[in-house]
């Protein structure tokens, strides 16, 4: 029955539109360039930086060239690096863990009690408004040697965003779900951990991502004040001996650590609570 009919003009046009995109070499190159744009921009900045230091003969104590920084970094014994990195990471992670362990239960309590919200919350804001950097020397004097004062300083910096954000998240649970829970007479505890806490996870994770980098800042600030190791201490003494390229190398290691820790938290979120990510960020 169906004899091959001659193609209509519309069909021909449609067929042309539906052709797979042909990958010409030129197209492929543009594609690659597009993919690597962020990386290329980064490399370009490095190249310009390197060139500028040579062309304008910028002294290394003002702005060392990237190659000078790299050289200074390599000149330091890897074991020394590891020592400083470990000292900073240890303090940052301990303070971060402590801030999570205290902030989340505290947020649950705050969201559950009008009394606490009216008493404790204002006090938290006062504490938060106190510049921790200014308090750091006092804390060091009070808490003496060891990691403790540094962990406390890190904790103070990392803790507040988690409390605020988690409390907000816990309060953002739709009323209907709370009504469902109450009509089932499921109890306070289940209401919190089967409904409110999971609902707060997107808020919790945004705070965890902010706080993980804050915890590095906290550890470094503490090391500026008093420490015998750690990257903050390393940068401090490099600067005092005018080893600016070496100080920059320390700074870059810090940036890398911050990025890695941030990515780690993002990975945990993606792996264990992908639904809590905005759709555009889901993998």
């Amino acid at each position: 029955m169906t004899s091959p009919t001659p193609q209509t003009a519309a069909q021909t046009r449609l067929a042309a539109l539906m052709q797979p995109v042909r990958m010409t070499p030129r197209r492929r190159l543009l594609d690659m360039l597009d993919r690597f744009t962020p990386f290329l921009a980064f490399v370009a900045v490095l190249v310009i930086w390197e060139a500028a230091t040579h062309i304008f003969a910028i002294p290394s104590f003002l702005l060392p060239a990237p190659t000078a920084i790299l050289g200074a970094g390599i000149a330091v014994d890897p074991m020394v690096w590891l020592d400083h990195i470990w000292a900073t990471v240890r303090v940052a992670l301990t303070g971060y863990a402590a801030s999570i362990a205290i902030a989340i239960p505290l947020a649950v309590a705050l969201s559950d009690s009008r009394f606490l919200k009216r008493t404790l919350y204002p006090m938290l804001i006062v504490v938060q408004s106190t510049p921790v950097v200014a308090v750091a020397p006092i804390i060091v004097v009070t808490l003496g040697a060891g990691d403790l004062p540094r962990v406390v300083i890190t904790f103070l910096i990392a803790f507040f965003p988690i409390v605020v954000s988690t409390t907000t998240g816990l309060m953002a649970t739709p009323d209907e779900l709370i009504e469902l829970s109450r009509s089932l007479r499921a109890g306070r505890i289940r209401e919190i951990y089967q409904i409110r806490l999971p609902y707060a996870l997107p808020y919790v994770f945004s705070a965890l991502k902010i706080s993980v980098t804050l915890s590095i800042i906290g550890a470094v600030v503490a090391e500026f004040v008093a420490a015998q190791s750690g990257l903050g201490y390393f940068i401090g003494f490099s600067t005092s001996f005018f080893k600016i390229p070496q100080a920059f190398a320390g700074l870059i290691v810090l940036v890398v650590i911050s990025l890695v820790m941030f990515r780690a938290v993002a990975w945990v979120q993606n792996r264990f609570a992908p639904w809590s990510l905005p759709k555009s960020e889901r993998k």
């Binding site: 009504e179 469902l180 829970s181 009509s183 089932l184 409904i195 639904w275």
Partner: protein, 263 residues
């Protein structure tokens, strides 16, 4: 002796403490009943106390005065033998479709037995989402999510189903589709339904009877018996009497005889 009605709102007064000191009178001398397996819509302007009715019926709060009876016994506290479907589907995005349907069991008893799961799957079949049991919530359209909400409300096989403007967040097409779906579900699983809406055609299409509430304080202003034969179809909506009734209800809603001004 007659059997008591499935639901009886008996002379309800509801007063809320207002924010600025002036109490809010939400419901006044509200009195109506719903017979077993009757489908009744409550129609009224927003803020007239419709959702309050639902909270009273699920025992989440007690009326300031009067009482609500279910099959002749007064409601004294939270009860889970009424299924509730909310305006928003309010599902849990971290659970699969089937786990959302069985969530009431997990939430109430801490675990979901294979039997519960079987019943959950049955409910999903009933709302025609049998093939979507293991999907994530965000993979479903708004209409499908509301079906999951209905399946969840039916899980405990309640005698009474409360629906608070369940289709008002849907687009017009899904809304019509869901109305017919609801009628089909109601035919397959007869329930006493209290359906809250502010859509006149929706109320006419679905209900045996429409209770029209006044503006706040909400009180029964009108009771309309819907005469159209069941099963209702698109033909029902095309019936000239349908449009006529819709218009007459609309006219009555927009006149304010109680205000004392022009009627």
């Amino acid at each position: 002796m007659r059997t008591p009605p499935a639901i009886h709102f008996k002379d309800i007064e509801q007063v809320f403490p207002g924010k600025s000191g002036a109490p809010i009178h939400a419901l006044h001398a509200l009195d109506f009943r719903i017979e077993r397996h009757e489908f009744v819509s409550v129609l009224g302007p927003s803020g007239c106390g419709k959702s309050t009715l639902l909270r009273l019926l699920s025992g989440l709060m007690l009326p300031s005065d009067g009482q609500v009876e279910v099959f002749g016994s007064p409601i004294k506290g939270p009860r889970d033998d009424v299924g509730i479907v909310f305006q928003r589907p309010t599902l849990l995005p971290w659970l699969s479709v089937i786990d959302n349907v069985t969530f009431p069991m997990r939430h109430k008893y801490g675990r979901v037995t294979p039997d519960d799961r079987k019943r959950g799957l049955e409910m999903l079949d009933l709302v025609r989402l049998g093939d979507f049991a293991d999907k994530r919530i965000d993979e479903l359209s708004g209409g499908m999510q509301q079906r999951v909400g209905i399946a969840r409300a039916l899980l405990l096989d309640p005698d009474i189903l409360l629906m608070d403007e369940p289709f008002s967040a849907l687009d017009a097409l899904s809304r019509d589709e869901m109305s017919f779906e609801l009628l089909r579900i109601w035919r397959e699983r007869p329930k006493t339904v209290l359906f809250i809406t502010h859509s006149i055609p929706e109320a006419l299409l679905l209900s045996d009877r429409i209770i029209v509430l006044s503006e706040r304080p909400g009180t029964v202003r009108d009771e309309i018996i819907v005469p159209f034969a069941r099963p209702r179809t698109l033909e029902t909506m095309a019936d000239p009497r349908f449009t006529e009734m819709a218009n007459s209800i609309r006219r009555r809603l927009f006149s304010h005889p109680v205000d004392g001004g022009e009627a």
